[in-house]
């Protein structure tokens, strides 16, 4: 979806794992007053064409980064300010490394280059924690209890069953969501951060269970010349829990010096 003035700076909003472009609903309309807004659903999420999803292509974040670049090419976007939430922060990092000329700025909301603790690095989760998430998503023990129904009935001839049960927001195909969770939480993009040449802002929440403050500090230190702003916001979605502060931070960075 493209909204906002045609001559405004292009701001592309990318949602993370778990939801779709609805996640931006509290900030996008205001941003659209001044900026050319580009919103999209990753393949497999929201209203995207589920048939376009391929297990192999989306087994790494490169597949998603490639989609971002395709959208830019298709819409002939230049000087894009890419705003990536959660896993889309790293998707934006990968896209900006591949085609730095395409992007004028990066805004990373709650980024984490690696969720799993590693020698001297604290991502916030152990491998066992992540495995538990993936296992429970595989078995659907976690999440929508209603999601059990299509898994058990599993009737591909009657997709409307799953359709009815799914939430009106953030519709996701359970199988695709599981694969996306795997791609997201097993990714490790720490080595990519120093390759970013585009001016970058990190928006960190003060209390975020998924991307803790020290992970934000790690990203800030690893991306040359990056800026870090900490929002007084609890949770992983400041665009929902602190929309005004998020809005202000995005707008001032977009309008700030190149």
């Amino acid at each position: 979806m493209v909204t906002g003035p045609e001559d405004g700076p292009v701001v592309m909003l990318a949602h993370g794992f778990g939801c779709d472009q609805n996640l931006w609903r509290l900030v996008a309309p205001t941003l659209a007053k001044d900026f050319r807004m580009v919103l999209f659903d990753h393949v497999g999420a929201g209203r995207s064409d589920l048939s376009a999803w391929q297990a192999e292509r989306y087994a790494t974040l490169d597949g998603y980064a490639d989609d971002v670049l395709r959208i830019c090419r298709e819409l002939e976007l230049r000087h894009v300010v890419f705003v990536g939430h959660s896993v889309s922060a790293m998707i934006g990092v990968l896209a900006a490394i591949r085609e730095p000329g395409r992007f004028s700025k990066l805004i990373l909301v709650g980024p984490s280059p690696c969720y799993i603790d590693d020698d001297g690095y604290r991502g916030g989760f152990s491998r066992a924690d992540i495995d538990e998430l993936l296992d429970s998503l595989d078995s659907n023990y976690l999440g929508w209890s209603a999601a059990m129904a299509p898994v058990i009935m599993g009737n591909p001839e009657r997709p409307e069953l799953a359709e009815e049960l799914a939430s009106s927001f953030c519709r996701t195909d359970p199988a695709i969501a599981r694969a996306f969770a795997r791609t997201t939480f097993l990714s490790d993009n720490r080595a990519d951060l120093p390759k970013v040449t585009v001016p970058t802002l990190i928006l960190q929440c003060s209390r975020d269970a998924i991307a803790p403050a020290e992970v934000g500090a790690f990203v800030h230190a690893a991306i040359p010349g990056s800026a870090l702003v900490t929002l007084t916001a609890t949770g992983h979605c400041p665009q929902l829990s602190a929309p005004d502060a998020t809005l202000a931070a995005i707008a001032s960075f977009v309008c700030g010096p190149p």
Binding site: G18, C19, F125, Y141, L142, V151, F169, A209, G235, C237
Partner: protein, 426 residues
Amino acid sequence: MSGPGSSGGGGLGEGDQRPDAHLASLLEDSTEDLYENAPCGYLSTLPDGQIARVNATLLSWLGYTRGELVGHRYFSDLLTAGGRLYHETHFAPLLAMQGEIGGVALELLAADGSRLPVLVNSAVKTSAAGEPLLIRTTIVDATDRRAYERELLRARREADLERERLQLLVTTLQRTLLPPELPDVPGLETAAYYHAASRDEVGGDFYDLFALARDRWGLFLGDVCGKGAAAAAVTSQIRYTLRAAAVYDPDPATVLGTLNSALRRDYERNGGRFCTAAFGVLTPSTDGFDLSFASGGHPAPLLLRADGTADYQEIGGGPFLGVIDDAVFSSTTIRLGAGDTFLQYTDGLTEARTGNGRDRYGDQALQAFAAGIAPATAATAINAISALLEGLGNGLDDDVAVLALSVPPSPGDSDGRPRLVDGERP
């Protein structure tokens, strides 16, 4: 509820006060007690998740004191690591956007580290101005339910596995009933197509093309009534009977007569199964092939001529095979000249439903289609028919077998039309 004194008079009586009195006697007069000791957990948090109030039921389930949770812990602190990730990526965003969320399966961590499977419902309480004030959450013990779900999942996985095994078995069995590839017949192009209507059942259609002697080939195509393992066993019997009978006496009418006798003999054991079949013997002629041909209840074959016409071939015919004793069949000779294509098929093709109604594709449509593609080689005819069948989509609900034989056109044919010479098989 009707009081003991109600006489069904219809008007308001003195008994109408009694239900309230009755309810009051239940002693459910303390909402505080109802909250604390409800048969579900109650939890209220600030919008950021900090626990503000919790009921006694939940505290006893989790083994915490009120002081350990209220003002100190967040809702997500009570979740497993996987649950926390789910909470942050799905639960909290959806709750913020929708104002409520229900039927979410999570596991709570008790003070002793044990896990309690629960179903969670949350709703946001807002101020008059719409500002979120609190998140109210009810928690239902789902231990039993989770066990049922696990069992259903296990059963489902087992069923999927069984289905895969069945489909593998069906595919393998189907393959044994069809020739892996058609043999080389010098001076003839051959092609075949098989569509199985179901992945779960072996189809009842069959065909074959095989060498009988150095310059003689047998071919057959047919349709056993029914599907599945029992029909497949009969198909297997038909195949070896036809092949063996043709070696003994290659006259097609005699071969079909032998098959009829064999099917009659085993009629009971075969569950009363019968079939339609067409049988032919190919021998080279001066400018092509002679096809001696007989049919038992099978649709007439089509001949696509070098001149672009297509006609059904009149075959003497005979009854279904395996239905009556001493059935009589007759052989006819069809001459295949340069550029001619012989096409035999099963009725799944002409019986396919077209459009939304119950209309069938039909013999006339097939003839017109054949005339449209004539002259054609065996391969182009089969390609065209497989495309036609694909186009019929769900209307195609039966198995279909098609066998095509074509004599390559000779350059400078009688109609004078330029024609590509398809390479003869070496």
